[in-house]
């Protein structure tokens, strides 16, 4: 194994040999290696966030016809460092009546939950933290931990806005987990495994082509999971001031902030891994580092789309958000899972071309049907809304027959 082909594993092997040569037990070596891996990954992720924050501000600025950060360093690239410095040096404030444990635990859980995701992501053909036979489930489980952070923050702050926001957030997160899991079921069905590495390896055809609608659902619900525009009801300023983290400042606020950005990036990673073939690309098997580049590029594209959405879409109302989930995405995902399961059985994986055509057609049909239903409902509601209403006095409306 040469350094140039697979530098990371080369370093790992070297470190391992080094530690073993010190006479440590093999179990302990593994443990230490995991520790080092986790540390390095975490560090990288944290550093990445610094860059992401700058990137996002810059991009959104451009979308909104502004310049964005432009003072510190070339293209304002050091702006984030300045912000960091400021946050690090701020005083730790704990509000009156706050529940100390919950209040202080919340930011840690938030960041931790996001970082834990990175443990199972296959970065290249050879580099993956834990190739876990229930990796997809693990993703969901870890996501669930994030909710815990939000709810603790909301409750611990002893602030009714924070509390309300936390409720909203939890409602939103739990709700959108449902279509997300269902959308994840489809790649799992194609692969027959819940291991992420296996999922990536199976994507001779990217799953976004085999299951475009599932990809769409996953993308939408993962944005909702992150709580970004247009799903940022949690922090709708006019209603909830600033959301569940209103009472936080300084480093603790910073941790929420980091968790937010990191989460956004993580879902892009996941999307790229699950639907865009992850590290797969020409030559990635032979030169794993090339896979890393592919993966990064795909992630960047997804992330970029996410930012564009954030910059261009208005916020949902809470009922719209819930409607979208329960009345649209969830049923759609359910139908999709069932239909894909049947179609997948009928057209075996060996007939790749046929399978691709069938799946595309199926997705198209289902999506068109769902869209049609949705449109009709919406227009029906609009008609009701536009109907003239009695102004001066209230008249008991005659019971209408919804069947006609």
């Amino acid at each position: 194994m040469s350094f140039w082909i697979d530098p990371i594993n080369f370093v790992i092997a070297w470190l391992k040999g080094l530690l073993e040569s010190w006479g440590l037990q093999p179990g302990l070596v593994t443990f230490v290696m995991y520790l080092i891996g986790a540390f390095v990954t975490t560090l990288l992720a944290m550093l990445l966030v610094v860059f992401l924050i700058w990137l996002e501000r810059k991009l959104i600025g451009r979308v909104q016809d502004r310049l964005g950060p432009n003072r510190l360093g070339p293209w304002g690239i050091f702006q984030t460092f300045a912000d960091m410095l400021k946050i690090f040096t701020k005083e730790h404030i704990t509000p009156d009546g706050a529940d100390g444990v919950a209040y202080n635990l919340a930011p840690v859980i938030s960041v931790g939950a996001v970082l834990m995701v990175w443990a199972v992501i296959p970065f290249t053909a050879t580099v993956v933290g834990v190739d876990f036979n229930a990796g997809v489930l693990y993703l969901m489980a870890v996501g669930a931990l994030g909710e815990m952070g939000v709810i603790l923050a909301g409750w611990g702050s002893n602030n009714k806005y924070a509390m309300l926001a936390a409720f909203r957030a939890v409602a939103q997160l739990i709700s959108y987990e449902v279509p997300m899991v269902l959308a994840l079921m489809i790649p799992v069905m194609f692969t027959g495994s819940m291991s992420l590495q296996a999922l990536v390896k199976e994507q001779d055809i990217w799953f976004i082509f085999l299951a475009p609608v599932a990809a769409l659902i996953f993308f939408i619900s993962s944005i909702a999971e992150v709580g970004r525009t247009p799903f940022d009801l949690v922090e709708s300023e006019s209603e909830l001031v600033s959301g569940f983290n209103i009472e936080y400042s300084g480093l603790k606020f910073g941790m929420f902030y980091v968790a937010d950005f990191l989460h956004a990036f993580t879902i892009s990673l996941l999307f790229a891994a699950l639907y865009l073939g992850g590290w797969r690309g020409p030559g990635a098997e032979q030169y794993p580092m090339l896979g890393f580049v592919y993966f990064a590029l795909k992630t960047a594209v997804v992330y970029f789309i996410g930012i564009l959405m954030r910059a261009s879409l208005p916020r949902f109302r809470i009922d719209q958000m819930m409607d979208l989930n329960w009345k649209y995405l969830t049923p759609l995902a359910l139908v999709l899972v069932a239909a894909t399961a049947v179609a997948g059985k009928i057209v075996p994986a060996e007939m790749a071309g046929l399978r691709l055509v069938v799946m595309l057609a199926l997705n198209g049909i289902i999506f068109a049907a769902a869209d049609r239903l949705m449109t009709r409902r919406r227009s029906a509601r609009r008609q009701v809304a536009q109907a003239p209403r009695p102004v001066a006095h209230y008249v008991q409306p005659a019971p209408t027959d919804p069947g006609d």
Partner: protein, 510 residues
Amino acid sequence: MDLLTNHLLTLILFTPVVGAVVLLFLPAKNIRVLRWAALAASLVPFGLALGLWARFDPSAEGFQFVEMMPWYPAIQSSYHLGVDGISLMMVLLTVVLTPLAVLASFTVTERVKAYMFLFLLLETGMLGVFLSLDLLLFFVFWEVGLVPMYFLIAQWGGTRRNYAALKFILYTMGGSLGLLLATQMIGVVAGTFDLTELFQIWPALNSGTLLGLPMATVKAVAFWAFVIAFAIKVPVWPFHTWLPDAHTEAPTAGSMILAGVLLKLGAYGFLRLVLPLYPLESKLFAGWLAALGALAIIFGALGAFGQKDFKRLVAYSSINHMGFVVLGIAAAAAAVGSQDAVIALNGAVLQMVTHGLSAAGMFFLVGVIYERTHTRDLTEFGGLFAQMPVYGGVLLFTAMGSLGLPGLAGFVSEFLVVRGAWPVFTLATALSMIGLFFTGAYILKALKMVLHGPLNERWKGKLPEMSLREGIVIAPLMVLMLILGVWPAWALDVINRTVSMISLAMSLWF
């Protein structure tokens, strides 16, 4: 996929119930959702049954897709399902007609939830009768099919619905009592309810007693109990008077199912139970049955010709048509083992299918016109062809299918029955031609009074043409009628082998 193939029948059987239960949890006010959900629930067994048909091997002997599980081990009753050619055709008929009937019921606005619930329950009852290979199970499903129909008539029926529903339930319940009695007797004497076993042991049973009665008496009692139960359901003249009332008062879709499938239960009972279990008795009494069949043909047709109520006319036509089924069965029982018997049975089973299609279509079309005019009195129509040309064409087509016009479904089966019955019951067959003649007479009478003649000014410009939904309901029936008439081989392929086997098995007892 194993689940699908190994338990296909169970799936077909119980998906309507599952759908019905799901319906219970939907909001009662959202009628649209209820309707579509019911339709979807009835389409699932349709799809599954198509799969069943595709996997069915028409050349194989005996029952296929057999499922057997202990159900009531204490009395040797088991959950035993299976299909052969006859039951497959009946299942197909049921699953085709039910979605159409549900679609036809989209005009029901009162208590839609209960209505659809009952409908889906009814479907399971009917399918259960066709699929079960256990006498007790057969009886259970027989009753399951009965009750929803009662409520459908009594709750959503016409003006005299209570009388009609009561007559229906009492009459058929009376028959069912006999069925229950016979089932019990057979179960106790033979020690099993399993039909495949009973086919082997019951006809051979000659010794032993039950409650001190000699076996011959027991068998005769059970035989007549069966015959009367099924004769009422078919209905064979003179047990037929419940039918015009029930049909006339039932809601449109109820009539469709009643005529399309429920009547077939009786004939199916003859084919599945009476003939194989009582080959000797059947042959002995076949003459009487043939006579009753011929009388049903003649008096059914005459009765229809004498009606002024459109729906009653169509109802009597069912008696007329089912008479051919009875005649065919009687001929098969008498000429057991010969080519005539096979042809007659083929004809009888095919007639069950074709009558299911045409009668359902006719009842639906009566419903269509009734919804527009709120009358069924033939004298109040007239000249509607000009108002509703598409409806007129469709009615003409369906009526011709019912009349047995060659090229449409009814003819093939009628010809086969006549061919099969002629050498056996020459006189009855010849007399039944009177009925066949009057079939033409009443059909033309209906057409003449509804479509032709000067337009009744009352309806001028008031009758909208058939809607798309109505078109969708009737179109499959029309297509099937045409296909069966032009190319009946695909259906007969399925039936032929089975009825040959039945006939052969019966002949072994002589």
